[in-house]
């Protein structure tokens, strides 16, 4: 199996004025192509920091991070932008849909960023919404959708440009358990179909069963990597 993400001795320090915060201290982690990896751990242990570095929106203090063989932090800023726009899909806890756009338009944004015209991108967005079961809300403004629906739109947006890696930061923590499970199963389904790697940050134990592996973090370190089976015991 191909390695999608490979982190070696990754550290990250934040200088917030006088006190220095060490968010990551020596992360070694491989994520496989087609794998769903869950990052779990108490709040403040560095999960968000880790996926931000992997997704190329934050620079590490030391160590390396390769995504599909590319050391992304070697790239020029513009090349890194292009890399992200092609290779990475994002799902956020707060959905982050543009409220003045319709669902289909929101889903089409990654294609527009790659240069596609908005008519065509919106049409493709409409198609993509079918896959998350929201074709009937394609022309609704995102502010009129429920939380679960908004997160499904966000998943469609994260997948529309066929990225190789999808990063999700607590995608279910703003949802009730029924919607949370539905969102997780759609995520799992689509990523398996697309054969992309999926990293999901969560501290919702009910979602563990969707994972291939679960990395338990604490204090900026990965304590252990376990199977969902072990995690649920």
């Amino acid at each position: 199996m191909k390695i999608a993400v490979s982190c070696k001795n990754l550290t990250k320090k934040f200088d917030s004025g006088s006190n220095e915060v060490i968010a990551l201290q020596g992360i070694n982690l491989d994520v496989m192509d087609g794998e769903l990896l869950i990052l779990a751990g108490p709040s403040g242990c560095g999960k968000t920091t880790l996926i931000s570095i992997i997704a190329g929106i934050l620079t590490q203090t030391s160590g390396t991070c390769d995504v599909y063989g590319q050391n992304i932090h070697d790239l020029s800023p513009l090349a890194l932008c292009t890399f992200r726009s092609k290779m990475i899909g994002f799902v956020f806890q707060a959905y982050n849909l543009v409220p003045t756009l319709t669902s289909a338009e929101n889903v089409g944004i990654p294609l527009m960023i790659q240069g596609m015209g908005h008519h065509e991108a919106t049409e493709q967005g409409r198609e993509m919404l079918k896959k998350v079961g929201l074709e009937d809300r394609a022309d609704a403004f995102s502010s009129t959708l429920s939380g679960g629906q908004q997160q499904r739109v966000a998943i469609a947006r994260a997948l529309i440009h066929s990225p190789r890696l999808i990063v999700c930061d607590e995608p279910t923590s703003a949802l009730d358990s029924e919607n949370g499970l539905r969102v997780m199963s759609i995520l799992k389904d689509l990523s398996m179909r697309e054969k992309c790697a999926l990293i999901v940050v969560t501290h919702d134990a009910r979602t563990y069963s969707f994972a291939d592996r679960i990395a338990k973090m604490e204090d900026g370190r990965i304590l252990k990597i376990i199977s969902p089976h072990e995690a649920l015991e």
Binding site: F92, T100, I113
Partner: protein, 386 residues
């Protein structure tokens, strides 16, 4: 992506309305106030504008503006007329006279005496009467504003409208009988006194005895004659000042700018209005960007390039700036239309439009740069923070 930018801008109707109203207000005070200022300045030389035919005004070297009456000796008229390149030269009397009104009151008026054969210097538009009626004895023409207001007969009962001065009515000018034969439309002047037109000779009778009576010599150049060269020639041969119409307007404006303080004070408030308008416009747009920071962050995380962000924000700024300017200009024009025949001074020449358009352009560029600065330095990693 320009489409996304456009929808971000107009998508929230109430916020968009807020931006547009703010910018319309900015556009309004950036065009209306300077328009009033220019209008007021135009009034200072209203009389020069009205006297359309001559190319050159000849006057005493001491004269500093149009209402500065320093008469010349009469023979200078013939001296000027005989100068090479002069097609004709006509006398103009300009002075003041106290009029006794039909109702008994007194009113200070401007008195203009024009050449009695050609009527050069007389008003071009008569609302009532005919210019040739000035041939009748004791005849005068008054301007409309004067006839309607300061020369009108006061009402018998307070609160009733005044009775305008009419053709056939008599005034007493310095104990001389004068009969109104026409009502003229004239440009408003700065001093806004009634204007009485009559012939040169009669004007001298009407005014108090004075040694010299020739206030201005109005000159028409021969065809193909360079006006500046002719002015220089007149000055050299007679020692008098000779200005083209535009130069005389400039001289008059400069006098008012320098000595009255009115334009300066008003000009400062216009400038402040302009700056306030600019600040509102810039602030409104900048706020819009700040409110959308989260979405700009999401777009940046998704890999939008700075170049595309630049296009998005600049086009947003230009769009709202010119929309607001257009609407503000529209409101200004509407105001101008509604107050067309009133006391309000308002002029909106093309140059002023270009000037305020330039102003708007600078403001929108400035607020776009401020916004871009924030967006460029925005860390895309904020998208994972709540």
């Amino acid at each position: 992506m320009l489409y996304v930018g456009w929808r971000m801008l107009v998508g929230n109707h109430s916020k968009f309305l807020g931006i547009v109203v703010g910018l319309t207000f900015a556009g309004l005070i950036m065009t209306q106030q300077p328009g009033v200022f220019v209008g007021l300045m135009t009034r200072t030389f209203g009389f020069i504008t009205d006297v359309a035919l001559p190319d050159i005004w000849v006057m005493d070297p001491e004269v500093q503006f149009i209402d500065d009456n320093k008469p010349l000796p009469s023979p200078t008229l013939y001296e000027v007329a005989s100068i090479e390149g002069v097609s004709w030269a006509k006398p103009l009397f300009k002075g003041f006279v106290t009029a006794r009104l039909p109702g008994g009151g007194f009113q200070n008026c401007n008195l203009i005496g024009v050449d009695s054969t050609t009527f050069i210097g007389a008003p071009a538009v008569l609302l009532q009467g005919h210019i040739n009626d000035l041939h009748q004895s004791d005849s005068i023409i008054v301007n409309q504003e004067g006839a309607l207001d300061k020369l009108a007969t006061p009402p018998r009962h307070p609160g009733d409208p005044k009775t305008p001065l009419q053709i056939g009515q008599r005034l007493e000018l310095n104990d001389h009988r004068a009969i109104v034969v026409g009502i003229a439309k004239t440009s408003r002047t700065f001093q806004s006194q009634p204007i009485i037109f009559t012939t040169f000779e009669r004007a001298i009778q009407f005014s108090p005895p004075q040694r010299q009576t020739l206030t201005f010599i109005l000159v028409k150049a021969k065809e193909g004659e360079n006006l500046q060269t002719l002015c220089d020639r007149i000055h050299r041969q007679t020692g008098l000042s000779a200005y083209t119409k535009e130069q005389f307007k400039d001289l008059t404006i400069k006098y008012y700018l320098k000595y009255t303080g009115i334009p300066i004070n008003f000009g400062i408030s216009v400038l402040l209005g302009f700056l306030v308008g600019a600040a509102i416009a810039g602030q409104t747009f900048y706020n819009f960007t700040l409110e959308n920071m989260r979405y700009f962050g999401v777009l940046k995380a998704m890999g939008i390039s700075n170049k595309v962000l630049l296009f998005m924000i600049v086009s947003q700024a230009l769009f709202v700036a010119f929309l607001g300017y257009g609407l503000g200009l529209g409101v200004t024009c509407l105001c101008a239309l509604l107050t067309q025949d009133s006391m309000l001074a308002f002029r909106f020449p093309y140059s002023l439009m270009l000037f305020s358009l330039g102003g708007i352009f600078v403001i929108s560029a400035f607020s776009a740069i401020l916004s871009l600065r924030q967006v460029f330095k925005l860390d895309p990693a904020i998208v994972f923070r709540n």
